[in-house]
């Protein structure tokens, strides 16, 4: 499962929240593609959501979008190593480095992808579109709690998103308090069941 989206939108927070819920349900591992350092991987290790050896950090050579889309070799190496450890039946969450609205995952690397926006980035973002917003398998609009503070109209964002995405799903979350995360989890599990059948 790829998890992409702009810098700071809450990708790692979502990965951590999903790990908390998934770890007793399925074999689980995480790959991070931080643009700099191993920040995301370290965060997850410190949160103690997974065994340290079930989290791998990939170096992206200044180009996080290249590493998840055009040249997926290093990510495939990481995913294959983890698959060996947890089995083909497990779930591997691949977090992209924070990037722009055009950065999406290659389906040579992942089966499904979530694109995470946050309301603090401005409620225009869903309207602007780009492949992450229009084509991701699930669009998550995060940090709904911040909407009143930044003057963002969540309803508008959701309807803009639905307008450009057709029948593809959109969910609103406040990952920080856990709101909406169970819905993301339910979507993930149903997609997993579909891809296995």
């Amino acid at each position: 499962m790829g998890i992409g989206g702009p810098v700071g939108s809450g990708k790692t927070a979502l990965v951590a929240a999903l790990c908390h819920r998934l770890r007793n349900m399925v074999p689980l591992a995480v790959v991070t593609n931080d643009i700099y350092t191993t920040e995301d991987a370290d965060t997850l290790r410190h949160l103690g959501v997974l065994n340290a050896d079930h989290i791998k950090a990939v170096r992206t050579g200044c180009c996080p979008h290249t590493a998840i889309r055009d040249d997926i070799a290093a990510n495939l190496d990481a995913v294959e190593d983890l698959e060996q450890m947890i089995g083909a039946d497990g779930v591997i969450l691949v977090e992209s480095g924070g990037d722009n609205l055009t950065a999406t995952f290659s389906y040579g690397l992942i089966d499904r992808q979530i694109f995470v926006l946050d309301v603090a980035g401005g409620d225009k973002v869903a309207r602007k579109g780009g492949p992450g917003v229009t084509r991701s398998d699930l669009l998550v609009v995060n940090k709904v709690d911040l909407a009143p503070l930044v003057g963002a109209d969540v309803g508008r964002m959701l309807s803009d998103a639905h307008a450009v995405r057709g029948s593809l799903p959109v969910l609103a979350t406040t990952v920080r308090s856990g709101e909406g995360v169970d819905e993301v989890l339910a979507w993930l599990m149903s997609e997993r069941a579909l891809s296995r059948s």
């Binding site: 643009i35 700099y36 350092t37 191993t38 990939v58 170096r59 992206t60 050579g61 200044c62 180009c63 290249t66 590493a67 055009d70 040249d71 997926i72 070799a73 290093a74 495939l76 190496d77």
Partner: protein, 232 residues
């Protein structure tokens, strides 16, 4: 041409072959020092890369199957012995692995039967052997190895220092043009020198021992850093 294209998905974009650390140490600060650095690596690592690629290529066309195994093992050990940094050795094997994955996906029929033989080897060994199977001769294999080395250095410097990409491409083109005759000569000499390996005799002393000790130290320092963008 497909193999030497920087957009070929072999993982190469995330390697700097020591450039990131050289920049951190202020050894490379701009176009002039980049050009000097590249010249130094071409004269040292480059000579070994050209010879090893050409030798691996020769083995695949001139030796029987058991001798190919012995020969490639010997070349692998020769590279191990010539790369002082453990981090560089690991990066080289990882690159060989990723490169083979890409090549196998693109040419499954051609590379299927030789794949076990090419697995887990140094990048120059894999490159020389796999390209021979694809019909590329030892001299062109050596040129490909040089192209890979120089473009890794140049393009990682462009990303890290924000260099003018046109000037950088000029350095790439100029360096490769300047070194082509020498590279082809090294490869041509490697073909007869590989004769013993083709007969199963482990003779690799002739492979260049020229090295860049500061780069070896740099590779170790780089691997120990947390805040790095490149895999090497």
């Amino acid at each position: 041409m497909v193999l030497s294209d920087g957009r070929f998905p072999s993982g190469a974009h995330a390697y700097s072959s020591g450039m990131e650390q050289s920049i951190a140490w202020h050894d490379v600060t701009g176009l002039a020092s980049l050009e000097e650095f590249v010249a130094g690596r071409v004269a040292t690592t480059g000579a070994m890369a050209a010879q090893v690629a050409a030798a691996a290529s020769t083995l695949m066309t001139a030796a029987t199957a058991p001798q190919q195994t012995i020969g490639l093992d010997a070349l692998d050990s020769a590279v191990d012995a010539r790369m002082a940094s453990a981090a560089s050795r690991a990066a080289s094997r990882q690159q060989g692995h990723s490169w083979l994955r890409g090549a196998r996906a693109v040419w499954p029929a051609e590379l299927a039967s030789a794949s076990p033989l090419l697995m887990d080897r140094h990048a120059w060994v894999t490159l020389g052997a796999a390209t021979a199977i694809l019909g590329i001769d030892p001299q062109d294999a050596a040129c490909l190895a040089l192209h890979d080395l120089v473009s890794t250095l140049v393009w990682s410097a462009v990303r890290l220092l924000g260099l003018d990409p046109f000037e950088a491409a000029g350095i790439l083109a100029g360096t490769l043009a300047g070194v082509e005759t020498e590279t082809r000569a090294l490869a041509a000499e490697a073909v007869p020198a590989t004769e013993a390996l083709c007969l199963g005799r482990v003779e690799t002393e002739w492979i260049s021992w020229l090295a860049a000790p500061l780069s070896d130290l740099g590779a170790e320092a780089h691997a120990a850093r947390a805040e790095r963008l490149f895999a090497s």
